[in-house]
């Protein structure tokens, strides 16, 4: 694709857009280091009068952030893995045919997503309790989160499978591949990018999942970072400095990784990897 003319003007516009869009992120970083009352000063201060960076090490130590982060990672990996394994095949089949059963399947996939997590958590808790899964709380959360992400994954990956020419798969079958072989060796590699992007999106949502974890994981040592975050809110007090510092610690690394990865993935797509 040809480079646009006036590339600096575009860059300038992009810069302005991102400054506006990233402003809340900036506000998160500086709210953390304002004094607890300066947060509420009118007119607001765009830079803290007396920045207090000690909030970061304090929160890091008081909340055992690494342990929380590790649990978040475990849950996010588990849920993403499960979703990709179950969802990819389902999306592939729903893209391959065009009949009433596919309509029913798609309809079900969406309808099963109808209830917000806050309403789903009670029956899930009850169910997990009955089959004894509460003893493996992180596994239970992984199952719940995977079910929650599945429709999202299926719908998006199905759209990606739709763009793969059917002739390619048929040619593979003629060449002597079985259905499984054609799926694994021909169709999957072509949808790789889309699957990766969706998996990444699901990973990040699962990383921050709160409602299921808060309810199902009773042992503090197994709780993810999102649950740790909520403990700064008391009946009469809200430790905004700690909330913002804690969230900065958890957002920054994951955002950095994402920027690096998305550059490769979406750039790969933009270069026309699909066609």
């Amino acid at each position: 694709m040809r480079p646009v003319k006036h590339t600096y003007l575009w860059l300038l516009a992009a810069f302005v857009f991102s400054v506006i869009y990233l402003f809340p992120l900036y506000w998160m970083y500086i709210t953390a280091i304002k004094s607890p009352s300066e947060i509420f000063a009118s007119p607001p201060t765009f830079w803290p009068n007396d920045p207090d960076l000690s909030i970061y090490p304090d929160v890091w130590e008081a909340r055992e952030v690494p342990r929380y982060m590790w649990n978040s990672l475990v849950i996010a990996f588990g849920a993403t893995g499960l979703t990709v394994v179950f969802g990819t095949g389902c999306a592939y089949v729903l893209a391959r045919y065009r009949n009433i059963w596919v309509d029913v399947g798609l309809f079900l996939v969406l309808m099963l997503q109808v209830l917000p997590a806050s309403v789903m958590v009670t029956p899930l808790f009850v169910g997990f309790n009955q089959i004894g899964l509460l003893g493996w709380p992180r596994t239970a959360v992984v199952l719940g989160v995977a079910a929650k992400s599945m429709p999202f994954f299926v719908v998006l990956v199905r759209a990606a499978f739709m763009t793969i020419p059917r002739e390619l798969e048929e040619a593979g079958l003629v060449d002597g591949n079985s259905r499984i072989g054609a799926f694994i060796w021909i169709v999957l590699p072509m949808a790789r990018n889309a699957i990766l992007v969706c998996a990444l999106l699901i990973f990040m949502q699962a990383f921050g999942e709160y409602i299921y974890s808060a309810s199902i994981i009773q042992d503090q040592k197994l709780a993810p970072a999102s649950v740790g975050l909520k403990t700064f809110l008391g009946p009469n007090s809200k430790d905004w400095n700690a909330i913002m510092a804690y969230s900065a610690m958890y957002v920054t690394p994951i955002l950095a990784i994402f920027i690096l990865l998305q550059r490769r993935i979406v750039a790969g797509l933009t270069a026309g990897a699909l066609k």
Partner: protein, 405 residues
């Protein structure tokens, strides 16, 4: 000294118990908040350390999740042995038989003496004449004021509703981003916590919210808002955020509680004081809200003795509540030690005085519904969707339905 003796007694008692039971290890699960410098977690860990035969399993739960978690646990038979619940939520559990009746145990206890407790906190742990819990701590609200601004305007701390309005008018200074007053009229429990005392000061109660005094109070709140003597954001901000604007110097008076003292002492660049909540008329009836949590034992516990022992241990630490955890003990026999900050000490004296008038919310099993009726009425009147009288009449109808009148 006294503390050490009590500690010694408790430890001695549990050591001998432990020797008797040999290796029989008992696990006690305790659920509570982890706020207040981790008060509950710290005490739970200490109890664990002090008892070889008891293992304490403490789970910290966010404030919002505490009751839903407890409800789910009761429903599925996973209830902990001990829980620390916000006082208005307590009756929901005690009235349904979910909590252990500890009336007899407390009567026989050498450590817990109900006669020294304030009436309000104790009442919140009672149901139908029986005691189901022990207050952990207590708190209330009063009127903070910015001494510098009051002196500059020649205003004395208001003692009646009319004086409050006059003071707010005199102190209001939009040029310098200063409102006369701030408080929380949020559409949640905090809003009820702040408004119910006004109903009670005028002779009403949670069972009767539409008396002329309550209407007058709500009209006063609306006037303050309409005349822009307070930020309209009192409708959407909680007490912590609202008092934050006071600390930042953007409001001359604030209605809030003692949990605020440490932040205010550290942040406020002006001199401040606290006075009792203004009454309807001079020398009129006083009232205030009552906050904080109650300890309780779930009826399903397999270790009632050990659980009660744990609560006795917590109660025995009452004199540490304030110095270490900034909690006010719910009893009159423990003097608060000096904080080393004269403003804080003065403020605490006012709060302790105000506590005498603090009334529990309820106790009622359906408190949350009563509370919603009250804050809904307050908000619909303050946003001009209904007159104060109509809004409170609607609330009264909802409350009557809940009370079954």
């Amino acid at each position: 000294m006294k503390l050490n003796m009590i500690l010694g007694t408790v430890a001695g008692l549990s050591v001998s118990l432990g020797a008797l039971m040999a290796h029989a290890q008992t696990t006690l699960t305790i659920w509570g908040l982890d706020g207040d410098n981790n008060l509950i977690g710290t005490l739970a860990a200490e109890f664990d350390a002090a008892n070889d035969d008891i293992v304490v399993d403490f789970r910290a739960i966010a404030f919002d999740e505490l009751v839903p978690e407890a409800l789910k646990a009761v429903a599925t038979g996973n209830a902990p042995d001990i829980i620390c619940l916000d006082n208005p939520d307590f009756a929901m559990f005690s009235s349904r038989g979910a909590m252990l009746d500890i009336t007899e145990m407390v009567a026989a206890s050498d450590i817990i003496d109900t006669s020294v407790y304030y009436e309000g906190p104790l009442a919140s742990a009672m149901w139908d004449g029986k005691l189901y819990g022990v207050p952990k701590a207590t708190n209330t609200i009063a009127l903070f004021y910015n001494k510098d601004l009051l002196d500059a305007a020649g205003v004395t701390p208001p003692q009646t509703w009319d004086e409050l309005l006059e003071a707010a008018r005199a102190l209001n200074d939009p040029e310098n981003n200063v409102y006369g007053l701030t408080w929380s009229a949020k559409g949640n429990e905090e809003g009820t916590f702040q408004f119910l005392p006004w109903i009670q000061m005028s002779g009403g109660s949670f069972e009767e919210v539409n008396g002329p005094g309550a209407v007058k109070a709500l009209e006063l709140w609306k006037t303050i808002l309409d005349e822009k003597l307070a930020s309209q954001d009192v409708l959407s901000q909680g007490q912590w955020d609202s008092t934050g604007t006071f600390n930042a110097g953007n409001a001359a008076m604030a209605i809030s509680g003692p949990w605020e003292l440490n932040r205010m002492a550290a942040d406020a660049t002006f001199d401040w004081g606290v006075t009792l909540l203004p009454t309807e008329v001079a020398g009129g009836q006083r009232s205030s809200a009552m906050g904080d949590f109650n300890w309780g034992i779930f009826a399903t516990t397999e270790h009632p003795e050990e659980a009660f022992e744990a609560i006795e241990f917590f109660v025995a630490q009452s004199d540490r509540l304030f110095p270490e955890f900034a909690n006010i003990p719910p009893r009159s026999d423990i003097a608060l030690p000096s904080t080393g900050d004269a403003r804080k000490d003065e403020a605490l004296a006012v709060f302790v005085e105000q506590l005498k008038y603090a009334q529990p919310r309820g106790p009622h099993p359906d408190w949350a519904k009563i509370s919603k009726a009250i804050y809904d009425a307050m908000q619909s009147a303050m946003t001009g969707q209904a007159s104060a009288q109509d809004a409170l009449d609607t609330a009264q109808a909802s409350i009557d339905a809940v009370l079954g009148n």
